[in-house]
C-alpha cells in the first residue's frame, strides 16, 4: 500500500514536471510574438513621435500664421489709425477754415 502510494506520487510529480515544461516550438513562437510586439511598440512610438512632430510643426505654423496675421492686423490698424488721423486732421483743418470764414462774414 505504501509502495503504491509512493509510485503514484512519483508518477504525479513526473507528470506535473513534464506538463510545466515548454517545447522549443513554443519558445520560438513566444519569442516571435515578443519581437512583433516590440516592433509594433517601436512603430507606435515612432508614429507617435512623428505625429507629435507634425502636430508641433502645425502648431508652430499656426502660431507663425497667427503672428503674421496679428502683424498684418497691427499694420492695418496702424494704417487705419493714420488714415483716421489724417481724416480727422483734414476735418479739423476744414472746420477751422470754416470757422474763420464764418467769423469773417460778420459785419
Amino acid at each position: 500500500m505504501k509502495k503504491a502510494f509512493l509510485v503514484i506520487s512519483m508518477v504525479l510529480v513526473l507528470a506535473m514536471s513534464i506538463g510545466g515544461c515548454a517545447t522549443t516550438g513554443d519558445l520560438e513562437e513566444l519569442e516571435a510574438r515578443e519581437k512583433a510586439m516590440a516592433a509594433k511598440a517601436d512603430q507606435a512610438a515612432m508614429d507617435a513621435e512623428e505625429a507629435k512632430t507634425a502636430a508641433d510643426e502645425a502648431i508652430m505654423k499656426a502660431n507663425e500664421a497667427i503672428e503674421r496675421a496679428e502683424e498684418a492686423e497691427k499694420r492695418a490698424d496702424e494704417r487705419e489709425r493714420i488714415a483716421a488721423e489724417k481724416e480727422k486732421l483734414a476735418e479739423e483743418k476744414a472746420q477751422a477754415a470754416e470757422e474763420k470764414f464764418q467769423q469773417s462774414m460778420k459785419k
Binding site: 483734414a90 483743418k93 476744414a94 477754415a97 470754416e98 474763420k100 470764414f101 464764418q102 467769423q103 469773417s104 462774414m105 460778420k106 459785419k107
Partner: protein, 437 residues
C-alpha cells in the same frame, strides 16, 4: 432680295430722307409737347437751370409745399456757396442736403442735390414771414384769384446777437442806404484793431448793400449784403440779410407797412397732392423741443383724420438727419411718394451767377502771399475762402513741387495790396507778405 433692297435704299435715305429727318427733328425740338416728352423719357439731364423755379410760386389752396427738388453736376472750380447763390439757396441748406461734400473744394463731376422745395411756415399767409430755423423769407401776395409766394434765403443773427422774433412791419425803405455803425459793432472792430467810422456811405464797403427795408422794431433791418457767401449763416447782429439780387426784388415788391412776422420753426409739416411731407432743420439752441411736440401731435392728427398711414421710422430719420428739405412721410399704395421725392436733373449753367472771377495773373502788379501750404486741398480751400470775402479778394493757388502758395491779387498799386493784406489779417488771421511782379 431683302439685302439688295436695303443696300439700294441707303443712298436714297441719305440724300432725301436725312435732310427731311433733320428738319423734322429741328421742328420738334421747338415743340413744347416734344420737350415734355423728352423730359419724361430721357435718362440724362434735360432741364436747363432757368426752367426750374427757385423763388416765385403759386400757392395752390390747401397745399403747403412749393417747388421741387433738383440736382446738378458740379463743374471744376465750383464751390457750394457759388451753387447756392445761383439757385437762390442758402449755404446752410445746400450743405445740409449734401452731407460729406466739401463746401469749398467739392469733387468736380459729383451730382449734388438742390433743395428747391419748401414747406410754407405755419403762420398766416400775409406779408412777410421769416423762419429763422430754415433761414428763409416768404413774401405772400394775394393776387386776383390766387395766392402767390416769393421766397428767398436769408442770413440771420448769431447766437450771441439773435434776430428778434414776433410781429412787426416795414417802417421805411431806402435805396443805397448809409450804414450808421452800431456801438456794439464799433466796439468789436476796435478790439480787432480795425476801428470803423461812425457811418459808412453806400458802396462796396457798406454791409447793408444797395437796398434796406427798416423794421418797426428799431435798429433791425432787412437788407442786402456785400458778403453774399454769408447767406444761410448765422452771421448778422440781428438783421436779416439777403443776396443783393434777391433784396432788390423784395424791395421792389414790398410796400411800407407790410406786416413782418419772424418765427422759429425747425420742423414743418405740409401736404401736397395728398402726400404728407416733413421738413427738419437743425434747431437753434433749445428751440426745437417745443416745436417738435407740436409737429408730432399734428402728424398724429393727420394720420387719424385722413386715414393715411405715416412712416414713423422715416419721420424719426428725417428729424435726426435734418436735411432741410421736405421729405414724403406718408405711405400710399401706389408709392407716389418715391416719384415725388425724385429730383429733376438739370444742366450745369454756363456761368454761375455771382461766382467770383479771378483776373489773369499779370506782371507789373502787386500781390499778397497769403499762405504757403503743403496740402493742395487746404490751399484751394483757403483761396476759395479769400475769393468769397466781401468785397471779394481775388486769390489763386500757385503750386510748385509739394508747396502750394495762396496768392491774392493782382492789385493795381501797393496801397490796394496793403488794404487786402490788412483785411486778410483782421478777417482770416493771415499774415500776408506783399510782393511786386
Amino acid at each position: 432680295m431683302i439685302r439688295s433692297r436695303m443696300i439700294d435704299a441707303a443712298p436714297f435715305f441719305n440724300r432725301v430722307y436725312l435732310p427731311i429727318l433733320c428738319l423734322l427733328a429741328l421742328t420738334l425740338s421747338g415743340c413744347a409737347n416734344m420737350q415734355g416728352f423728352l423730359e419724361k423719357s430721357l435718362p440724362f439731364p434735360v432741364a436747363s437751370a432757368d426752367k426750374v423755379e427757385s423763388n416765385d410760386f403759386v400757392v395752390v389752396r390747401d397745399d403747403d409745399v412749393v417747388g421741387r427738388l433738383a440736382s446738378v453736376r458740379l463743374a471744376k472750380g465750383d464751390t457750394l456757396p457759388d451753387i447756392a447763390r445761383h439757385f437762390s439757396l442758402g449755404i446752410n441748406t445746400v450743405s445740409a442736403a449734401n452731407p460729406g461734400t466739401d463746401v469749398w473744394v467739392p469733387e468736380a463731376g459729383d451730382r449734388i442735390l438742390l433743395p428747391m422745395s419748401f414747406i410754407l411756415p405755419d403762420a398766416p399767409r400775409k406779408g412777410i414771414v421769416i423762419n429763422l430755423a430754415a433761414m428763409r423769407l416768404f413774401h405772400f401776395k394775394k393776387e386776383v384769384d390766387r395766392m402767390a409766394v416769393s421766397t428767398y434765403p436769408v442770413g440771420v443773427g448769431t447766437a450771441e446777437r439773435p434776430t428778434p422774433m414776433g410781429k412787426m412791419y416795414i417802417s421805411r425803405k431806402k435805396h443805397r442806404p448809409t450804414w450808421y455803425v452800431p456801438a456794439s459793432i464799433a466796439a468789436d472792430h476796435r478790439k480787432k484793431g480795425d476801428p470803423l467810422p461812425p457811418s459808412v456811405p453806400p458802396g462796396p464797403l457798406n454791409p447793408l448793400g444797395e437796398h434796406a427795408l427798416y423794421l418797426s422794431r428799431s435798429t433791425y433791418l432787412i437788407h442786402g449784403t456785400n458778403k453774399p457767401a454769408s447767406i444761410g449763416l448765422r452771421a448778422t447782429n440781428g438783421c436779416i440779410r439777403l443776396y443783393p439780387e434777391d433784396v432788390e426784388r423784395l424791395f421792389a415788391k414790398t410796400s411800407v407797412k407790410t406786416p413782418v412776422k419772424i418765427i422759429n420753426q425747425p420742423y414743418l409739416v405740409g401736404q401736397r397732392d395728398g402726400i404728407v411731407y416733413l421738413e427738419a432743420h437743425p434747431p437753434f439752441e433749445k428751440s426745437g423741443k417745443a416745436n417738435w411736440k407740436k409737429i408730432y401731435a399734428q402728424l398724429q392728427k393727420i394720420e387719424k383724420k385722413s386715414g393715411c398711414t405715416l412712416d414713423w421710422k422715416k419721420i424719426k430719420d428725417v428729424v435726426i438727419e435734418a436735411r432741410g428739405y421736405p421729405v414724403p412721410v406718408s405711405l400710399s399704395p401706389d408709392g407716389r411718394e418715391k416719384a415725388m421725392a425724385k429730383p429733376i436733373k438739370i444742366w450745369h449753367p454756363r456761368t454761375l451767377y455771382g461766382q467770383p472771377e479771378v483776373p489773369e495773373f499779370t506782371m507789373d502788379a502787386w500781390y499778397v502771399l497769403a499762405a504757403t501750404l503743403r496740402d493742395k486741398i487746404d490751399a484751394r480751400r483757403l483761396a476759395a475762402i479769400i475769393n468769397h470775402q466781401g468785397p471779394p479778394i481775388p486769390a489763386r493757388v500757385l503750386s510748385k513741387d509739394d508747396r502750394h502758395r495762396v496768392v491774392a491779387g493782382p492789385f493795381d498799386d501797393k496801397g490796394a495790396a496793403k488794404d487786402a493784406a490788412k483785411r486778410l489779417k483782421i478777417d482770416l488771421e493771415l499774415d500776408g507778405v506783399l510782393f511786386e511782379t
